[in-house]
Amino acid sequence: MIGGFGDIYRTLFGLELAVMFQYRAAVIIWLLGLVLQPIVYMVVWLRVAESKGGRVGDFDAGTIAAYFLVMMLVNHATFTWHMFEMGWRVRSGFFNAILVQPLHPWHRDVLQNVAYKVLALGVMLPVALLLAWYFKPTLDPPLWAAVAFVPAVLLAFLTRFFLEWTLALLAFWITDTSGLNNLYMAFVLIFTGRLAPLSLLPQGLQSFAAWSPFQWMVAFPVELLLGRLTPAQTAHGFAMQALWILLGFGVMQLAWGRASKRYSAVGA
């Protein structure tokens, strides 16, 4: 499907990148948040490990640093913001111009997302290297895991994108979705492993994360690059990602059909 969209994707990606250049300051401010949060969690967990004789669970200082640095990069690669924009789009009539064009709106959002990620990577990577120099992470994955990390991040992005785009569509039914978004973000913080490695959570919460899409959106690629997964666990992770992507895409299409039927095309 993407092949037929080659020219559209190339052109829109270039334009989205050009728009991002116009918002350099905003891009940097967003980045600060994305960088600071994992550093804070990392420092807290390093202190916890220190107070417990150097280890917490099966993590030592080096692996804690590695976990949160890789987490920072994976979270950057996979996060989306459309849930926070959709309400405005519905209320302002922004969709009117988009819906009469022969391209589903999610394509634009993917490209906008990727454009931001690519641009921000120019800052994110040096920051990650600087942090790595300071915190000295232990990162020594087997070659196959390092290779598998790349598609795992890509699939993690799609898992997260389709789920969050579908949730964003609730804006067609609910006037203000900010409360719901915050609740969802709390789930993301806990069950994607951003707050703490999932293995440090109580067993019940770990099981929930494993059956939900959350684990596969962020924690899975992180643990893969840390060399903490067996080939069998990795294969299971890819299968879960595939399942949630298919499910997410299907539900998104269904929800979009309902949402656009409900759309009242306000804003003249």
């Binding site: 559209i8 009117n96 819906l99 064009q101 656009s260 003249a268």
Partner: protein, 329 residues
């Protein structure tokens, strides 16, 4: 010939929440949400032939924009049937969307932060236009709308008129067969209005495109539309030639006489008289026009006399007022 646009008993009902003002009522609405059905369009039926330019008229809130949104696939009709180029618009089939365009006076397809040329490039990709055809059309639109100096300007730096010209150009880049133009000259100065009118007429002539146009400027309608569809309170009020609208809804004609001297009493000829020096304007029932004209010429020292239809704005206003008063024509 199959019509380009066909609406049959097309209706749209919005469900809108409502509550009385005040804190107590706000609290009550948490438990019991009250809604009201508002019928924006009621069983509207009309056809538009390929290549036709039709003026779609009505006062604010008449249902014009809602109808255009249903025809362009933005809104799902509540009832009735609609076919555009034999497509069902709401399915938003890609082939359908490639053949239509919707231009709304206050909505834009332009990328706000980038130079205008980037928006053209984006639509080239989205509509999958061949490079050669794209460049040809772009050159044509640039010339017709005089866009040369605007292409490199960021959209946010354009004036309203410049932006509207660019909006129209970007919306026509894929050479649509059907144009839904909702107030395309809104807020523009007279020169720019004329330029856009000329352009729309040329586009229609060159491509045989079908155009449905709403405008509050009667000059747009008079210049472009042989036929008008009038809608009010969501209902179709009139569908026919512009001239017939005047005949049907204006029972009067205007007689303007220039007299040799001022101060003559013309009250015997009409109940509605406006005097400006030696020029007197009389409003007379259509059927009496010939007889009154004859009497004026016979009785008075007339230098010049003309018989005119009332201005179209007045007729339209009269139509809307009639309906507002509940006396349907």
């Amino acid at each position: 010939m199959m019509p380009a646009i066909r609406c049959e008993a097309l209706s749209k009902t919005y469900r809108v929440p409502e509550r009385d003002p005040g804190l107590w009522n706000a609290a009550k609405s948490l438990l019991h949400r009250r809604t009201r059905d508002v019928q924006a369009v009621k069983e509207v039926t009309f056809d538009v032939a390929p290549g036709e330019i039709v003026g779609f008229l009505g006062p604010n809130g008449a249902g014009k924009t809602t109808t255009l949104k249903m025809l362009s696939g933005l809104l799902n009709p509540s009832a009735g049937h609609v076919r555009v180029l034999d497509f069902e618009p709401f399915r938003r089939d890609r082939e359908f969307l490639r053949q239509i365009t919707l231009v709304m006076g206050n909505r834009n397809q332009l990328v706000w932060d980038l130079p205008v040329a980037d928006s053209f490039e984006r639509n080239r990709a989205i509509y999958r236009l061949q490079r050669g055809q794209y460049e040809h059309t772009l050159a044509e639109l640039t010339e017709l709308l005089d866009l040369q100096d605007l292409l490199r300007k960021p959209v946010r730096n354009l004036s309203l008129g410049e932006r509207m010209k660019c909006e129209i150009a970007v919306a026509l880049l894929h050479r649509p067969q059907i144009l839904f133009l909702d107030e395309p000259t809104l807020g523009l100065d007279v020169t720019m209005q004329r330029r856009i009118r000329t352009f729309v007429a040329q586009y229609n002539e060159r491509l045989g495109a079908t155009i449905l146009l709403t405008s509050h400027y009667m000059a747009d309608v008079e210049a472009l539309c042989q036929r008008v569809v009038v809608i009010h309170h969501g209902q179709l009020l009139f569908d026919g030639a512009l001239a017939d609208l005047v005949t049907r809804f204006s029972p009067h004609k205007t007689i303007v006489v220039d007299l040799e001297r001022e101060g003559l009493d013309l009250s015997a000829y009409s109940d509605s008289i406006t005097v400006e020096g030696s020029r007197v304007t009389l409003l007379v029932p259509k059927a009496d026009t010939a007889q009154v004209t004859g009497r004026l010429l016979a009785d008075l020292p007339v230098i010049d006399l003309t018989v005119e239809e009332p201005p179209i704005e007045e007729v339209i206003e009269q139509v809307f007022n009639l309906e507002a008063g509940g006396s349907a024509a």
